[in-house]
């Protein structure tokens, strides 16, 4: 298998990066990404990526937390260890609300975070981009575009020239 190559190109500011994303997408590129120190408003539309599906995962786990909590409290209070307390029914759902709420919220929160990491393929402690000097600006003040060699349109020379023509101010090539 050929080694993964990545072109890193820096643009001047968020507006330039959005414009570049629209153009590179218009040219038919697929395996590209736009790196910035903070999320840029309007970048999703420019790159043509859809809304994250993370909400469904969180909702599914919230539901699991809810039913798990009801089941747990029913099992503990009405089945495994039934005790009469202040003459209340064994399954007194009013008193079970706080714990049900807490577990619903807890599972939804954990699922949001783990779901986000899984969808982002994180943790991943090694990546060819970490070898790039230009890429170090991504967390500071750099607005960068990366194009990977897995893209069918990728051609080191042609892509590089195209990026220069759409306003890249610095370009670096990275090989895994």
């Amino acid at each position: 298998m050929a080694k993964l190559k990545i072109i890193v190109a820096e643009f001047a500011d968020p507006a330039a990066l959005i414009q570049a994303a629209e153009q590179i997408r218009g040219a038919g590129y697929r395996d590209f990404d736009c790196h910035s120190p903070f999320p840029i408003h309007g970048m999703d539309a420019a790159m043509g990526i859809k809304r994250s599906k993370l909400g469904y995962i969180a909702a599914a786990f919230a539901l699991t937390g809810f039913s798990g909590a009801v089941l747990l409290q029913w099992w503990a209070s009405a089945k495994a260890f039934p005790l009469v307390i202040s003459g209340k029914p064994f399954f007194s759902y009013q008193a079970f609300l706080p714990v049900t709420f807490a577990l619903t919220v807890l599972l939804a929160a954990i699922a949001s975070v783990i779901g986000m990491l899984v969808m982002n393929k994180l943790p991943r402690w090694h990546h060819p981009l970490f070898e790039s000097a230009l890429f170090r600006k991504a967390g500071d003040n750099g607005f960068l575009m990366t194009i990977e060699s897995t893209d069918p349109q990728f051609d080191m020379e042609r892509t590089r020239r195209f990026l220069e023509s759409i306003g890249a101010i610095a370009i670096e090539e990275v090989t895994d």
Binding site: D33, D44, P98, A109
Partner: protein
């Protein structure tokens, strides 16, 4: 700002910039990361040596308590809940401001929160850690604490899910977990920045591990932003629910002065009030030590003072409403409980509480005082004291004088009670100072996102 006022002829009101000094992205990175990468100021060493000593004292006292039993505290019949529970409620309450800032202000798009949310969230986590210690050691046999977990065991026992004390365990446990996740997710991009800047191999590895390989690509940001929004949405009800559940520890009992329906909203308002006072105390100290006046501007402090004024008024209203209901309800035990609070043996504590929580925040009606750092620092300390006394009045005065005069008593704290209170501050400040030293105390990526040049339409002609 200039670009905006020139291009938008319709605007009559030009907002002050959220971050003063017109910084660039790079200067934000430099000034926040610099704190973590450079040597801490002298004052930091002095502060941590004091708080560290107190924290060590706290830990030794815990060991002594587990060895000797909770008899070393001033607990006696009828006052079986003393400073331990007061401290627990106090510290849990402190945490609420952090969650309000990180979750509710995020949903309401209050973009000024970016300067203070990171360390307010850290404060929440530290406060809940300290709070959690108190009920854990208060049970006496701390080694049997796992009985509150719903675990199958050889005794065939299950915890009583109809008990507020168990609700509390779940509520505070969830609160800690969600706050921690929120804080950590917020930290990931900043940890990646520190990783990329790291000068030594060890720092690179440590920051690299915790940054989880974050690369800041928009394909990552889109999931990240939704996760952050979801966490904000999930945490928002927690701001209201956690202290409500804590209040049911009292409200579900039948003790006069505890058994009232006003407790949940009253506790929540008090929690936010005390939490903002603590955020303010810490913010004023941190911005002074680390010269962050451009990030935490006087506008930020003023906004927090306004929130304290509002919540302080709610707390004051709750105090008077309790009195009204005690009279209007016609229950003579309830009526006595409240007269006893204000004029009985604990009147001194009651009037300290009224002064600190109702009278002191009134200074914030005056704009000049609201923007004066010395005034607000003094007010925030007094409010912290007042809110501790509020919990003392609620917990102790109700227990000391209930139905039967023959079983009345008067709570006297021992030297150990004082030690635990002081020690808990030591642990809190030690954890907080370690946070200031080793992690970025202001959310760099979020602050960059609210700079005027971060808007892709910045300077564009429409």
């Amino acid at each position: 700002m200039n670009a905006r006022s020139e291009n938008n002829e319709m605007s009559v009101y030009v907002e002050e910039p959220l971050i003063a000094g017109d910084p660039s992205y790079q200067s934000v990175t430099e000034s926040i990361s610099g704190i973590v990468e450079g040597k801490p100021p002298r004052l930091w060493y002095i502060a941590i040596s004091i708080s560290g000593t107190l924290a060590l004292m706290f830990l030794s006292l815990i060991a002594l308590l587990i060895w000797e039993g909770i008899g070393i505290w001033g607990l006696q019949v009828p006052v079986g809940w003393g400073w331990d529970i007061v401290n627990f409620v106090f510290w849990v309450g402190i945490g609420h401001a952090g969650t309000l800032i990180s979750a509710i202000l995020f949903l309401l798009r209050q973009r000024w929160r970016t300067s203070i949310n990171r360390f307010a969230e850290a404060m929440t986590i530290m406060a809940v850690i300290v709070a959690g210690i108190f009920p854990a050691i208060h049970v006496g046999r701390a080694w049997a604490l796992y009985w509150v977990f719903p675990l199958p065991n050889q005794m065939g026992l299950w915890p009583n899910f109809r008990s507020p004390l168990l609700w509390d365990f779940f509520a505070v446990g969830t609160y800690f977990s969600c706050s921690f996740l929120f804080w950590f997710v917020g930290l990931i991009p900043d940890l990646a920045t520190l990783r990329d800047r790291a000068a030594s191999k060890i720092k690179k590895i440590i920051f690299g591990i915790f940054a989880l390989g974050w690369r800041g690509g928009n394909r990552q940001w889109r999931h990240y932003e939704l996760a952050y929004l979801l966490l904000a949405g999930i945490s928002t009800p927690l701001v209201l629910s956690v202290h409500s559940v804590v209040s049911t520890d009292f409200a579900v009992s039948i003790l006069p002065g505890w058994h009232t329906t006003i407790f949940p909203p009253y506790f929540v308002a008090g929690a936010i009030f005390s939490g903002f006072a603590m955020v303010l105390t810490l913010a004023i100290i941190a911005r002074k030590i680390y010269r962050l006046e451009n990030f935490i501007t006087i506008d930020h402090l003023e906004k927090m003072n306004k929130i304290m004024l509002v919540t302080g008024m709610i707390v004051g209203y709750a105090y008077s409403c309790e009195f009204f209901i005690a009279w209007y309800g016609g229950n003579k035990y309830e009526g006595f409980a409240f007269l006893n609070r204000a004029f009985g043996p604990y009147a001194w504590a009651y009037w300290i509480m009224i002064f600190c929580n109702v009278v002191v925040p009134q200074v914030f009606w005056v704009k000049k005082w609201r923007r004066n750092v010395a005034v607000m620092f003094a007010a925030s300390i007094l409010i912290n004291i007042g809110m501790w006394f509020e919990r003392f009045v609620i917990v102790v005065s109700s227990l000391a004088n209930d139905y039967l005069p023959s079983s009345w008593g008067y709570f006297k704290p021992t030297i150990y009670d004082v030690g635990f209170l002081v020690g808990s501050f030591g642990l809190f400040f030690t954890l907080f100072l370690l946070f200031l030293r080793f992690l970025p105390m202001i959310a760099m990526s979020e602050v960059k996102g609210v700079l005027p040049q971060a808007d892709p339409h910045h300077g564009a002609k429409h």
